[in-house]
């Protein structure tokens, strides 16, 4: 049986309590809203690109600990990355949270704290909401939904 502490790791609880980059972003070049209709989690993601580089990234919204921590950790991970790198990171993150718990996954540094959601299939959407919203923002879609 999976342990709760796999899901609610200290780093996740910390990001939930004190989310990083948790504000609107003036002069954002890209933004999108993400919505998980299952639980009502809702967030707005802001990006400021300088050429191909993500110079600033922030988010606002309300959601469960997993979705909030995931958004917070994602914004930390994206700063300074190119759009191509961000897009590749989306794929790697998505693979990590959807790989069956019995199989090994790539080490994604701090983001690996979220690998625990694999043990809780109904919570995978919580962890991936921010990332789907990132992709929508980069594709210039206003809204995305986990459904």
């Amino acid at each position: 049986m999976s342990d709760l502490s796999d899901l609610y790791q200290e780093v996740i609880l910390d990001h939930n309590r004190r989310p990083r980059n948790f504000h609107a972003l003036e002069g954002a070049s890209h933004s999108a809203e993400g919505y998980n209709p299952l639980c009502g989690d809702r967030l707005t993601l802001y990006l400021k690109l300088n050429g191909d580089t993500i110079e600033e990234v922030s988010f606002e919204g309300a959601g469960c600990a997993i979705s909030k921590a995931s958004a917070s950790m994602m914004t930390d991970a994206l700063k300074g990355r190119s759009v191509g790198e961000a897009s590749a990171l989306f794929d790697r993150f998505h693979r990590m949270v959807t790989t069956p718990p019995s199989e090994p996954v790539e080490d994604l540094g701090k983001l690996s704290a979220l690998a625990g959601v694999r043990e809780f299939p109904v919570r995978v959407k919580c962890a991936s909401l921010a990332w789907h919203t990132l992709r929508a923002a980069l594709n210039r879609e206003r809204r995305t939904s986990t459904e």
């Binding site: 049986m1 709760l4 609610y8 309590r17 639980c39 009502g40 309300a62 600990a65 997993i66 809780f120």
Partner: protein, 422 residues
Amino acid sequence: MERSEQRSASVVEAPSAKLDVARIRADFPILARTVNGKPLVYLDNAATSQKPRVVLDAIASYYTGINANVHRGVHELSGRATDAYEGARERIRRFFNARSVREIVYTRNATEGINLVAYSFVRPRLRTDDEVLITAMEHHSNIVPWQIVAEGTGAKVKVAPVDDRGELQLDAFERLLTPRTKIAAVTHMSNALGTITPVAEIVRMAHARGVPVLIDASQAAYHMRIDVQGLDCDFLVATGHKLYGPTGIGILYGKEARLDAMPPFMGGGDMISSVTFERSTWNELPYKFEAGTPHIAGAIGLHAALDYIETVGFEAIGAHERELLGYGTEIIESIEGVRLIGTARNKASILSFVMDGVHPHDIGTIVDREGVAIRTGHHCAQPVMERFGVPATARASLAMYNTREELDALGRALRKVREVFA
């Protein structure tokens, strides 16, 4: 079905005033299982209730003994299946005290019943600026169908407010009844708050202004006796799977004169006229609203479920559930940082709550690890969440088989949530 005579016999036993919860639990096979290594504590009854063995047996014995299509053939099994299916309709009539089986229409669920009334009864009568009156604590199923029919006609959906306790503001409701109101569609009991609405008074107020009333009894029907003649409502909907019966079977009650004047809903009429030697039967109520092969096993399972409820008795069920609600309220209120949403003076079986600093979804996951099943989210009642300024709530909902020990387990699980998020 031979079984039905036995069931009827058991119903006439005088219901005991005190409910023997251990005996009841033994009738529900699923309650013996474990979840995540812990005994199942099932507190998501407002979403769907568990099924007693008599319901499962009734469905199995239909399929193993008399499976055939109804109202069709002259062969033995078809006759027996039809008797069982129509016997269930008579059982439902008695359960809700309708005047005639012609007033009992089988549906898939309460949602389909509301849609049937919206499309067949209300839509043809709606003109621009007409109104449909609902309340601020309706389930989405009693909001969206009205929006759809209103949109096509230029009519409006009006909403009677609820106060901070979650009680319907009856004076405001009354003021919203106007000559333009074509129907008032009101829940009997809120699935998100537990509030019981004063439906008899609502019907009286509406009828005084010539407004027909639909009552959504989905939540109320498994907690308290409902008498459609006593209420004098025009329509009432309920769903089988909350009444300890199977999914996929629901009930629409409609006054015969109302149903008679309504066109068919599902286009069964065309099909009916082609079966010429059965035409006269099919054109009658309630069959004109039952196009296609129905959920025969579902009706038979629901029959057994209603027998079961009445054998236990609403008096005993109500007393037990009230006692549990009081105890559960104390438990919830004893947890640090927890606030109940929905504190109506007249409420039943629902403990909807939020916890400071913890999203309901996280509460749901953590208590699930302790074997405790609760619902988290907006409960298909987003406007209620908005009214109370919360994105979602956690909800424990009670049924006749729940125990004080299970509420203790909920309390322990909620303290665990506090520990994780300390």
